[in-house]
């Protein structure tokens, strides 16, 4: 297993009160697998992702990557955030080559890799721009290129397309699907969109309302290139919607 999450719990202390955010989560992600996490708002999806990324420590349990326990963030796990986190003082190229510079990669090598990934996300023409000059969709493409250029085996994404309009969102889903067919990363992807999950994932994991536990796992047996209007697709969609709705309803009880 590429990622192994075992007995993971996390409690937050806010205003002197302890609130459990995650409760005894077990999860395994195989190498090259694309796993989507779905669940009602506040159920602990970001918390889980942040623990796998090494930004947060668990209260109990552990995360192993390649059988080694995670103790902090590292270049083996690339992260794409919801809020387009780019270094605003660096150009698109500067952002994408950030990790390569840290590794001390020579200029020629960096140039080649950066060009390849800017091409892959369709931003070759904007290489010298600064983040303020880019649209939200373009920023998120840069963030994806930056994560990929560092060649991590794992990519963690927390609602990367959550702030985009519906059209841009589908375009980026298409791009990510295409990229994944080339790059074969191990991906843990948090989303609120069931359609997005069914479109991208090998497996969809539905979490319970807070404190988050695993409720149900769906293995998506659809072809690599998916048709959002195929009957099998909509079948998965409605089945997962039903399970998610049960949990969302609990939040509002």
């Amino acid at each position: 297993m590429k990622i192994r999450v075992r007995g993971l719990s996390r409690t937050f202390v806010a205003q002197g009160r302890e609130t459990p955010a995650l409760l005894d989560v077990d999860l395994e992600v195989a190498a090259h697998e694309f796993v989507c996490l779905l669940g009602p708002s506040g159920c602990g999806k970001s918390t889980l992702l942040n623990i796998v990324a090494g930004f947060l420590r668990p209260t109990a349990g552990e995360v192993r990557v390649d059988e080694r326990p995670v103790t902090g963030p590292g270049a083996d796990r690339g992260v794409v955030f919801q809020e387009y986190v780019l270094f605003p003082w660096l150009t698109v190229v500067g952002n994408v080559e950030f990790g390569l510079r840290l590794k001390g990669a020579p200029a020629a090598e960096r140039r080649g890799i950066v060009a390849r990934y800017l091409e892959l996300v369709g931003l070759a023409a904007h290489a010298e721009k600064y983040p303020v000059q880019l649209s939200g969709g373009m920023k998120q493409r840069v963030a994806i290129a930056r994560a990929l250029a560092n060649s991590p085996e794992i990519i963690l994404m927390d609602e990367p397309f959550g702030a985009l309009d519906a059209q841009t969102r589908e375009v980026l889903q298409d791009e990510l699907g295409r990229i994944q067919r080339v790059e074969h990363k191990t991906v843990l992807f948090v989303t609120h969109s069931i359609r997005e999950a069914v479109y991208l994932a090998d497996r969809v994991i539905v979490m319970t309302s807070a404190p988050g536990r695993i409720k149900q796992v769906f293995t998506i047996k659809l072809p690599e290139v998916r048709d959002r209007f195929a009957p099998e697709f909509t079948h998965y969609e409605s089945e997962i919607t039903r399970v998610v709705k049960e949990e969302v309803a609990k939040v509002h009880e």
């Binding site: 796990r77 955030f81 986190v85 270094f87 990790g99 600064y130 930056r146 963690l156």
Partner: protein
């Protein structure tokens, strides 16, 4: 400089000339008490010619540069440390809160007692005065750095030093430059006071000399030169800032 700015400055000059030359003609107060632009210009020309003004300016600037420079380095190092290390911050905070409201000039005699009348006391006093506000502003700028930028860098493989050099410093740089500008303005502000007491050179000394030998034109000239120095340095820092932060303006211009 924009036209309105030039106009405003010319306006001040005209009012000054009108009042001082008017005073000459009407004899409201002793002419020597209200120097005219012409007299100030004459003193300026004389002191430039005999080399005393450049020497005073150089002396003051050297003191400001050394005192401010040392304080800036210390404020940067300690500001980073305090912002990044909670125990240090908790320890330093009460001390700062206590020292900050004390007007620095209150301690000037102490510096003369400790460091004597030479360069040491001036440099140390400027260092002391400028350190605290710069330290506070730099620590605040570092604390404002978005934690997700640090997370993004860490998951690209950045270690502690990389985070400081490649994320915290560039992200906090606008705030750091503001802190430095503040510190420099303050240094020019207090150097005069430091040179009033026991100095044999420097713009403060020049101004005090104007008082001792009753040459009001020299006092006004010294003050104007200080203002000019402050404006030049500020303009230089602003120009540097604009070059450094092209990325902030890039969005607005294209």
């Amino acid at each position: 400089m924009s036209r309105t700015r030039i106009l405003a400055l010319v306006g001040v000059l005209v009012v000054w000339a009108a009042v001082s030359y008017g005073n000459r003609m009407l004899g409201v107060m002793a002419p020597a008490l209200l120097p005219t632009p012409g007299e100030v210009a004459t003193v300026f020309a004389e002191t430039v010619r005999d080399g005393s003004l450049p020497r005073h300016v150089a002396t003051s600037l050297a003191r400001v540069a050394v005192g401010f420079g040392l304080a800036a380095v210390a404020a940067l190092a300690l500001g980073l440390l305090a912002a990044m290390c909670v125990p240090v911050r908790l320890m330093v905070e009460p001390i700062i809160e206590f020292v900050r409201p004390i007007p620095p000039l209150a301690f000037l005699p102490m510096f003369l007692v400790w460091f004597g009348l030479g360069e040491g006391s001036k440099v140390a006093f400027i260092g002391y005065t400028t350190f605290f506000p710069m330290f506070v502003a730099i620590a605040a700028a570092v604390l404002r750095v978005d934690v997700t930028l640090l997370r993004a860098a860490a998951s690209l493989g950045a270690g502690h030093l990389d985070l400081i050099r490649r994320v915290i410093l560039p992200a906090a740089l606008p705030g750091i430059i503001v802190a430095l500008r503040l510190g420099f303005a303050l240094a020019l502000f207090v150097i005069v006071g430091a040179e009033f007491m026991g100095a044999d050179a420097g713009l403060g000394h020049l101004i005090m000399e104007g008082r001792t030998f009753f040459v009001p034109a020299q006092i006004v000239m010294g003050a104007l030169v200080l203002g000019l120095l402050g404006s030049i340095v500020n303009a230089l820092l602003l120009a540097t800032e604009r070059r450094l932060f092209r990325w902030r303006e890039a969005g607005a211009t294209s």
